[in-house]
Amino acid sequence: MTTLKICGAALLCAAAVPILREMKGISALLSAAVAIMAAAAAIASIYPSVSFLVAAAEGTAFESYAAILLKAIGIGYCTVITSDACRATGADTAASGIELLGRAEILLISLPLITELLSGIAGLI
């Protein structure tokens, strides 16, 4: 039902944007608002799946790794949604900056893994 509502909102937005073309700022903001709303709905819909995955990983040997993956996917989604919204408003540079920030953040949370791996390999050799 939520999906239908969001789809309806997106269609309305698609219809409104050509009408509001003359008011460039408003049409861009409307597009961004619909994109954010759709992304929020998407996050809400995948939340049970992610919760299930996290619950499945709980108490296992890879629980800590699951937490890192969850963080990474969360950062990825936030980054992409924000950069899409920025692009919709025409702020392409900001979108690129946000993507770079996201990549750096994911790399940062992967650093302990890289350290663990390198020390493991060094220990082996």
């Binding site: 790794y65 993956l69 994911i106 790399l107 893994l113 890289i114 493991g120 050799i125």
Partner: protein
């Protein structure tokens, strides 16, 4: 004059015989009309010494796996075929397999779970319409799986290294015992040739494995992980070259070793046999009354010593099998687990994780080959001792 000289020579030889055989006693033989039986009894009574020496060399965990009473009693050697026969060895192997299956199933479940988790998050990441973020996420997912796999593989690699060390230590300790038994049986030349040769060969093999091939395996392991993470090409070539080099080198060395030891042992045993025949002929023909009895006693002693040698050698082979079996079974199961996870990752669409697992499976198979070949060579070296007939029994 010639007859007197022969008699003197026979007496000197008779005096020297105890040096070769601590069990042949002319006095015992003179007192007992059935010298042969007495000598066998003496020899088997001393069996306990050899078995207790052997017992000290066996690792505690392996010792607890051996049948009860294997080192007790004078008639140990005669009851050995029943106690450590084919049924016993296969029973133990089956027991080890059963014991390893549950942990292996747990390992498989964990690794599959990790793969499935990474694949699920990967599917979620596929929804992102930004290639650069997806790439960095894939790297993160591969890193998590690599870290997890490495934590499980380090133990496997270290156990392989440890088992080769303990197998070498055991072989190097048991070979002198068998050499001493060979010397007691009159195979002095065979003992010096075979014992020294085997010790040298097992030491070279152990050093080569410990300091050359296992580090190479570890390097391949590191390369496999790095190549899977970077996603730039495969290490199939390097692992393949290392594996081929080891197989060809070790196979050639094993064949050379078997050939040299076989002809060396045959020649030395023949020379020992001629020497022993000469001694017995001289004793039989020169010493009046007890000459033939002494000859029988020597024969009986040789038979007893042969029994002890066979017992020690057989226990040695069984101990090596028990030392190495858990590790070989673990390595085999580990290869199977990595193969299954590689296939599962491919099905789930995680190509990098699949490549990582496949590479690690190759490395695990290589380690398995190293351990198996070393084991075969160690068992072969002990079997060479078992095949040598005592010179004095002819």
């Amino acid at each position: 004059m010639r007859r007197r000289g022969a008699a003197i020579a026979a007496i000197i030889l008779a005096l020297l015989l105890p040096l070769f055989s601590s069990h042949a006693s002319a006095t015992d033989t003179y007192k007992n009309s059935d010298g042969s039986a007495q000598a066998i009894s003496n020899a088997t009574n001393d069996a306990n010494d050899s078995f207790s020496d052997l017992r000290k060399l066996i690792p505690e965990d392996v010792l607890s796996e051996l049948p009860e009473g294997i080192f007790d009693g004078g008639d140990t050697s005669s009851s050995l075929p029943e106690k450590i026969g084919l049924k016993y060895v296969f029973g133990k192997l089956w027991g080890l397999i059963k014991r390893s299956l549950l942990p292996a199933a747990g390992g498989l479940a964990s690794l599959l779970g990790m793969t499935a988790l990474a694949a699920s998050f990967g599917l979620l990441a596929d929804g992102l319409n930004c290639a650069s973020v997806v790439r960095i996420f894939t790297l993160c997912a591969t890193l998590t799986v690599a870290c997890y796999v490495m934590s499980t593989q380090v133990g496997v690699m270290n156990s392989a290294s440890l088992v080769i060390g303990s197998m070498t230590a055991f072989s190097n300790a048991i070979i002198p015992i068998l050499t001493a038994l060979l010397i007691s049986s009159g195979n002095t030349l065979t003992a010096s040739v075979t014992g020294a040769g085997l010790l040298e060969f097992t030491t070279i093999l152990a050093n080569f494995t410990q300091y050359c091939f296992l580090p190479l395996c570890r390097a391949c392991f590191g390369l496999a992980i790095i190549s899977a993470i970077s996603g730039n090409g495969h290490t199939d070539g390097i692992c393949g070259i290392v594996k081929k080099t080891f197989t060809v080198t070790a196979g050639f060395a094993a064949a050379l070793f078997a050939a040299v030891i076989s002809y060396q042992t045959t020649l030395a045993a023949a020379a020992d046999s001629v020497a022993a025949r000469s001694i017995k002929y001289a004793l039989g023909s020169s010493i009046p009354v007890v000459g033939s009895a002494l000859g029988d006693a020597i024969k009986g002693t040789a038979a007893g010593l042969s029994l002890i040698k066979s017992g020690v050698g057989a226990i040695g082979i069984v101990v090596i099998i028990l030392i190495v079996s858990p590790v070989i079974i673990n390595l085999f199961l580990n290869s199977a687990i990595l193969g299954i996870c590689s296939a599962a990752a491919k099905i789930l669409g995680c190509d990098r994780i699949s490549t990582l697992m496949a590479e690690l499976k190759n490395v695990s198979g290589f380690i398995l080959a190293v351990v198996a070949l070393s084991t075969v060579i160690f068992i072969m070296s002990l079997a060479v001792f078992l095949k040598i007939n005592p010179a004095l029994s002819v």
